[in-house]
């Protein structure tokens, strides 16, 4: 068996349960730790990890082989965490319509190198840091980030703009 992440995903896509278990052993630990840093509700984290690997089983064939498998799994996991939080808060799914998305601000932050990003995140006050973390690092929309952080999507967008201004001042 091809033991690379990509090889294991290919095996999963044709129904190899053992390959899924190997992927789980490799990726579930860091995923659980990272999700636990985002959410203090251990049951929500458990549900998110479980839902993630059920989703991997069902959608392995849709992995596009572009980008890291870990990043693909994280993208699934953080959204399953949002779903788990939403279920616990008994919220309805978000209404259809355009998501509020501060893409331009995120794009500006994304221009930083990884090392710079860590330093930049550290310089921000906690409320701005949390928004940068959720949108830039975790890849969430403003709506999803708002749900994770317990603030309205518009506040996410406003804080992202403030974060951009702070980072721009720092680099000037």
């Amino acid at each position: 068996m091809d033991m690379t992440d990509e090889g294991l995903l290919r095996a999963v896509s044709v129904g190899d349960r053992g390959a899924l278990h190997l992927l789980y052993d490799r990726h579930a630990p860091w995923l659980a730790i990272r999700l636990a840093r985002r959410c203090g509700d251990r049951d929500a984290v458990d549900d998110a990890v479980q839902d993630t690997f059920v989703a991997v089983w069902r959608s392995a064939g849709s992995y596009g082989a572009s980008g890291e498998v870990g990043a693909w799994i994280w993208g699934i996991g953080v959204r399953r965490l949002i779903d788990a939080i939403r279920r616990r808060r008994h919220l309805d799914p978000p209404p259809d319509g355009p998501a509020v998305h501060g893409a331009s601000a995120e794009d500006e932050v994304l221009r930083l190198e990884v090392g710079e990003l860590g330093a930049a995140v550290q310089r921000l006050v906690p409320e701005l840091r949390a928004v940068v973390q959720a949108t830039v690092l975790d890849g969430l929309t403003s709506r999803e980030a708002g749900l994770l952080l317990g603030i309205p999507p518009g506040t996410v967008k406003t804080r992202m703009m403030r974060a951009r201004a702070v980072l721009r001042e720092d680099r000037a």
Partner: protein, 67 residues
């Protein structure tokens, strides 16, 4: 993987929630693609009930289509 320079102490601090947000941000990007770090973190996640979660995954797969 072979060029990984992340220390075990940094990973332990991250897993235990003792590192800064900035440090965590850098590590999280790295861990996505570093099998060595993923392997190191595995035993640190035991408290997160991964065996039980896997049992639930298997139960759900067993009760659904395999495709």
């Amino acid at each position: 993987m072979s060029d990984c320079t992340v220390s075990a102490q940094r990973l332990d601090d991250y897993a235990d929630g003792r590192c800064s947000a900035g440090e965590a941000a850098v590590l999280e990007v790295h861990v996505l693609r570093c099998e060595l770090c993923q392997t190191w973190l595995a035993p640190r996640a035991q408290a997160l009930r991964l065996d039980r979660i896997w049992e639930r995954v298997e139960q759900r797969l067993g009760s659904a289509d395999y495709g």
